[in-house]
Amino acid sequence: MVELQQVSKRFRGRAGEVIALAEVDLHVAPGEFVVVRGPSGSGKTTLLLALGGMLRPTGGKVLVNGVDVYALTERERARFRGENIGFVFQMFHLVPYLTVLENVALAATAGRTSTVWAAAGELLGRLGLSPRERHLPSELSAGERQRVAVSRALLNHPKLVLADEPTGNLDPDNAAEVFEGLAVFHRRGGTVVVVTHGTTADHHANRIVHLRDGRIDGGSGEKRMA
């Protein structure tokens, strides 16, 4: 599903060069649930953005579903992202002036409106948000907002969902609900890569990857789950 080949990312700043990713090789099989862990500044977010076609690496190749993501034009890549990848962020990043339902529907860059609304409503229902459809994000609790963001990431039936500390701002109960949402997607065959500090997601995970200083930690660095 996902293939990172010798992926590097260097940031050149005024204070010198930062190596956020150092020749990372990573293979994520279709239908896998991967948890990425590591200390702050180890390159987790960088890895996820590179994976999602949002941040061009300085070296190496990113293949998603067999497509060399950064060989695409900007426009093709945007389209590819819309069709294949869903994002969930720590800060939710909901559009403040749109209702919950509209925020989810926003993920549909194309397609018939009626089917989009129906699909958005159904996803929200599954995550227990039906009564909140017409509310603005500011009227929701943090946990509810993140479930909206999960619904939005799932709307286009992506093959891959990338989540960057999706529960960083949530209490354990809400965190569990969010991971449950991702787990449902995973059980239906979806691929998930999630960066998280907590252990709430561990029992859903097939594998935990440790990052340190931009490298995958310890030999293969991968711990297979049962």
Binding site: E74, A78, A107, T109
Partner: protein
């Protein structure tokens, strides 16, 4: 969701920012519309007034005693009738509708009347003009309102005047001026009647506003007359129209200074607001990118917003500017209230030019929005 839908929702959500943008556009457009509407009314009314007042220049012999002139109402000196031909033959003058005139006071049916002899107007050589005054045919006369009323004279009656019989070609409507006590006849008839063949005591003319220098109109006219007819001088009788014209010029001069200023301030205002809007929406731009929207959508979101601000602000500004012109225009431009009419052509201009202008002001902020690296904003810092 449609881009326009997003723009409208965002505008309703960030009412203050959107409202401030509207305010900027509406204020600028209102100002333009106000001055155009009221200024156009002023121009129109001045033109009408000048025409209604009739010929506004009086060319009289240079040695006229001005005290007597104002007392009697015309010059007691004469000049050759030929002067009118000389003036007409001169090209490049700001005189038009030349009308040779001979005026005399006399007794008629026991009352004092003014006898006026005129010819059909002459045009200056280089102009085609339609006549502005009536001219009596030989043997005919027009009677002023007051005389016609007092003596019950009607069209086709005959009147005796200094031993000559004239047929009444018509009577004139009330004018509220000396014209009501005047009898108009053909110049050559009058010359014969008062025994001053070939002489006139006045050439009436119209100051054509076909020049627009900064110089005083009368000064130019005097200079021109000095070279064409050294023995004559010119008086200008248009105090109202003149004051109005001066007022309009004053406002136009003022506008010439203030318009560039308004344009720059308005552009800066819109640009800064658009910039703030882009900054405020960095995360939104990032998420749109992550969701697979391209640069085109992001750009149209911000340019479209500017266009909406422009269209709504332009329409609003037109309404406000027109209302202001109707209310305060008469004071600023010294025109009558009825002269000011809404100029709907300006509405079309407002809703076309304002969005284009607002869009231009938003170009740089939009470029920043488009080129912004979504990875930076999505890093959750």
């Amino acid at each position: 969701m449609r881009t326009l839908g997003l723009i409208v929702r965002e505008a309703l959500y960030r009412k203050l920012s959107f409202g401030l943008g509207l305010l900027g556009v509406a204020a600028a457009v209102a100002l333009f519309v106000f001055f155009f509407t009221a200024g156009e009314a002023s121009r129109r009314e001045t033109a009408r007034l000048t025409r209604n007042m009739g010929l506004n220049l009086r060319i009289i012999p240079k040695d006229t005693d001005m005290d007597r002139f104002w007392l009697v109402g015309f010059s007691d000196r004469t000049m050759p009738e030929d002067y009118v031909h000389r003036l007409a033959a001169h090209s490049g003058l700001n005189y038009s509708h030349l009308l040779p005139t001979l005026k005399r006071r006399m007794q008629w049916r026991g009352t004092e009347v003014i006898l006026v002899g005129t010819l059909p107007e002459m045009s200056a050589v280089d102009r085609q003009e339609s006549p502005m005054t009536l001219a009596a045919k030989p043997g005919a006369a027009w009677l002023g309102y007051e005389l016609a009323r007092r003596f019950g004279v009607e069209k086709n009656d005959t009147i005796d005047l200094l031993g000559k019989t004239l047929t009444v070609a018509g009577t004139l409507p009330e004018s509220g001026s000396e014209q009501d006590a005047s009898i108009f006849a053909q110049l050559h008839d009058v010359q014969a009647m008062v025994k001053t063949e070939g002489a006139i005591n006045e050439i009436q003319a119209l100051n054509c506003v076909c020049f627009d220098t900064d110089r005083d109109a009368l000064e130019v006219l005097r200079e021109q007359l000095a070279s064409a007819l050294p023995d004559a001088k010119v008086l200008q009788i248009r105090p109202i129209a003149d004051a109005r014209e001066k007022q309009r010029r004053l406002v136009e001069d003022y506008l010439a200074v203030i318009i560039p200023f308004i344009v720059v301030v308005c552009a800066a205002w819109l640009g800064v607001l658009a910039m703030m809007n882009v900054r405020e929406r960095r995360c939104e731009i990032g998420i749109l990118r992550a969701l697979g929207y391209g640069s085109g959508t992001v750009a149209s979101l911000f340019l479209g917003r500017a266009a909406v601000v422009g269209i709504v602000g332009g329409a609003l500004g037109f309404a406000v500017g027109t209302a202001l012109a109707l209310t305060y225009g008469p004071q600023v431009f010294k025109v009558t209230g009825q002269a000011i009419r809404p100029m709907y052509a300006l509405l079309v201009w407002s809703v076309l030019a304002a969005p284009a202008f607002a869009g231009l002001a938003a170009v740089i902020p939009t470029m920043l929005a488009v080129t912004q690296d979504p990875a930076v904003t999505l890093r959750d810092t």
